[in-house]
C-alpha cells in the first residue's frame, strides 16, 4: 500500500488531499504507481504528463523505485511568485 498526496489543482480533480493505492508488489517505481493511480482515478490521467513526483523533500524520476514508507507526492505545474509574468 502506498499513500499518494495531491497538491494544487490535483486536489480539486481528485476531490481529496490523498488516497491509498493498493499494490500487489511490495515496491513500485514511480511509473508503476502512476499507472495504478490512472486505473483507480481516470480523471487524473490528462494531468499526469505534466505532473512532477516527490518523496520527502526531493523530486523523483519516473524510473526510480519508491520508498513504500513515504507518501508519493504529486506536484502539478507550479505558479509561485506573483502573476505569471509579474
Amino acid at each position: 500500500m502506498l499513500v499518494v498526496e495531491f497538491y494544487g489543482v490535483l486536489q480539486q480533480v481528485a476531490g481529496a488531499k490523498s488516497l491509498k493505492l493498493e499494490a500487489e508488489q511490495a515496491s513500485l517505481t514511480v511509473d508503476e504507481a502512476l499507472e495504478l493511480l490512472r486505473q483507480q482515478m481516470p480523471g487524473l490521467a490528462e494531468h499526469l504528463p505534466r505532473v512532477a513526483c516527490a518523496q520527502a523533500d526531493q523530486l523523483v524520476r519516473r524510473d526510480q523505485p519508491l520508498d513504500p514508507e513515504q507518501p508519493l507526492v504529486l506536484l502539478p505545474p507550479v505558479s509561485g511568485g506573483c502573476g505569471r509574468q509579474a
Binding site: 489543482v9 512532477a52 523533500d57 526531493q58 524520476r61 507526492v73 507550479v78 509561485g80 511568485g81 505569471r84
Partner: protein
C-alpha cells in the same frame, strides 16, 4: 531562518537579517497580489505549497544565487495562505558591493523560483468563482550518476 510562511511577509526583518556594512547596494523584489488576472477582477488569492520541498528549494536557491553572483547576501521568503490585494506573496532581498550584481542576482532568484518552487496559486474572483492558475511543470531531477547541467 524561515523560507515559507503563513504570516505576512516582513521586509524589515529581512533587511535586518541581511544587514551588511560591506555592501553599498540593496535590491528588493516583491511580488504582490494584483486586482486582476487575464481580464477578470480578483478579490484575493490563496497560495498552497508542498512545504518540505519548498523550504529546501528556497534555501538552496539562496545558496546558488550567492555562488553564481558576486553578492554578499541573499534571502528569499514566500507566503502561503489567503492574501488580499496588494499583499506580498514573495520577497527577494540581495545585497552586494556593486549594484549591477544585486540586480542580476535578484532577477535570477525570482526567475528561477518560478520554475522550481512547489507552490500553487488559487485565484478568487470578485464574481465568486475560483481557479487554480496553470503554471510551469517542474523539471525532473537528473538521472542518478548524471550531473545537473550548468548553464
Amino acid at each position: 531562518m524561515s523560507w515559507m510562511t503563513d504570516n505576512p511577509l516582513d521586509l524589515d526583518s529581512l533587511l535586518q537579517e541581511t544587514d551588511d556594512d560591506t555592501c553599498g547596494a540593496l535590491v528588493v523584489f516583491a511580488g504582490t497580489v494584483r486586482n486582476h488576472h487575464e481580464g477578470k477582477a480578483v478579490s484575493g488569492m490563496s497560495y498552497s505549497a508542498y512545504k518540505p520541498m519548498a523550504d529546501r528549494v528556497l534555501r538552496e536557491l539562496e545558496q546558488e544565487t550567492l555562488a553564481r553572483y558576486p553578492v554578499e547576501q541573499c534571502r528569499i521568503m514566500h507566503r502561503t495562505g489567503d492574501l488580499v490585494i496588494g499583499e506580498a506573496s514573495v520577497l527577494v532581498v540581495v545585497r552586494s558591493h556593486h549594484r549591477a550584481d544585486a540586480f542580476d542576482a535578484a532577477r535570477y532568484a525570482i526567475d528561477t523560483l518560478k520554475m522550481r518552487l512547489p507552490v500553487w496559486k488559487h485565484d478568487m474572483y470578485t464574481d465568486g468563482s475560483t481557479a487554480y492558475q496553470d503554471g510551469v511543470p517542474l523539471e525532473d531531477p537528473p538521472a542518478s550518476g548524471a550531473r545537473a547541467k550548468e548553464d
